[in-house]
Amino acid sequence: MQAGLSTKNAPSIWVVAPHFLLAPVSFLMASLYLLFHYGALLGYHISAPVLTVLHLMILGWVTMIIFGALYQLIPVVMEVKLFSETLAYITLTGLVSGLFFLITAFMGYEFQLTNNFIIGGSLIIGAVLVFTINTLVTALKSDKKNMSKLYIVSSAIYLLLTVMMGLFIVLNLKYAWLTKAHTEFLETHVVIGLVGWFLMLVIGVAATLMPMFLIVHKIREDYLKWGFYLINAGVIIIFTITFINQVPEFIRVVAYLMILSGLVLFLLFNYDVFSHRMRKKLDIGMKLSAIALVLLLLSVISFVLVYFGNNVLGLGVGRIEIIAGILLVYGFFTGLILGQTYKTLPFIIWLFHYQKLVGKQKTPLPADLYSDRLATIHMYSFVISLLLFMAGLLFTVKLLLMLAAVAMVFTSIVYGINVYRMIFHKKQIIK
């Protein structure tokens, strides 16, 4: 075998698969929990049910699957082997055990610090610290210089920062160190988590994968470069002013505008890739990814409406805030994960079963390992669920919210069946 190839850098299936095995369980648990507490969406958003669902989704579903997928994608983007698979197992153990304590703490959350918060938060910080070290050392080993690498490395640092801030916030419930409003720190925790960690990571990975999957060669590097500067500057400003008293409001507005401009550049990058693609027909993975990008756009528009509603028009727009959050977490994050699962997981499973058989026997292709029909079914139920959530929140109809939650439970079950079908695939030889 010759230099420059990536299969030899691919991680063991045993590092990647457990993440894909556990993440659908969290997705199902979060959806079921929401089904039993959907009424909470119409109340104040910092409540025990909303925080429970949010943390199950962000840590148990989104972060869990990202960790698994990243161990597979880092060798593709950085063209080196992951620094340590042992560290990856340590991260997974810390994340799962930390999540257990944290979720039980949020389920009984009454604005008080409990031991479960401290144990769960500390375990997750430990897991994330190990993950960040693993990612940074891998990046140092790679001599590739590209925007994807910059985005991924930055996102790992922001992840560490946001989980540390999360623990800091709950500890403050007891020790009251802060001189500023609690909610301002919460806002910064959310911004660093959602924008610094998840969005930066998504942009970094998408910068390599979208052109690769859609067969596009000339990409708009300038969009990625300016997006990187703008989003980083915005997040750093938000973080910095959290610790400074009496900061003029316009600085916060400028920071959010920077983040918004970066997101618009990312959307333009994708628009450019999609419009120049050689592969016109989209497979199910790319269809779901395209839907996710539209949901990101809708979420950005909703957040702008929330800002203008609150600060310019003086309206109470709490429900639009929830809509924006659902569009981002249940819409964009989940849609992208549902889609990109079909662009990542089948390959590692396929390589595990068939790598040594190619050329000797006729083997299935990676796309044959999952059911396209099941994926199409959960694509529709996912979209229906989101539409029902929007309608239920806009018109305050609890029945619609319940149906939306049912559709999301259904989505998580069908998705889980398809993922498990891939993981437990038995070797087949085509005659």
Partner: protein, 106 residues
């Protein structure tokens, strides 16, 4: 270098290579424009193929190379087969044949 003219014997090799698909897109590597040169020397009993990949980070890259190596060794057992991975000239989507473009969108 991309070979412009193939002998009849080399064209037979190209036909064999059409059995090797890119596992991601399901289209064969010849129609994707990934095969640059095929040199079959009947006197020396050597078969040298230069191929490229659509991207250096291609996660199934060496599986494709392995597939080419195996299928040529099985088809031409008396020949010494060498498969070279080359990056010059850089592959572009313009190298996909009309047949490949059609299959990509089926």
């Amino acid at each position: 270098m991309i070979q412009q003219n193939f002998t009849d014997e080399e064209l037979k090799v190209v036909e064999v290579l059409k059995q090797v698909p890119d596992p991601e897109v399901g289209v064969n590597i010849v129609d994707l424009g990934l095969v640059y040169t095929v040199i079959k020397d009947d006197e020396k009993k050597t078969l040298v193929v230069d191929v490229t990949l659509s991207t250096p980070g291609c996660p199934v890259g060496d599986t494709i190379i392995q597939h080419i190596q195996t299928i040529l060794e099985v088809t031409y057992p008396e020949y010494a087969v060498t498969v070279n991975l080359v990056w010059e000239p850089q592959w572009t989507p313009d190298m996909i044949s009309e047949q490949g473009k059609m299959e990509l969108n089926q």
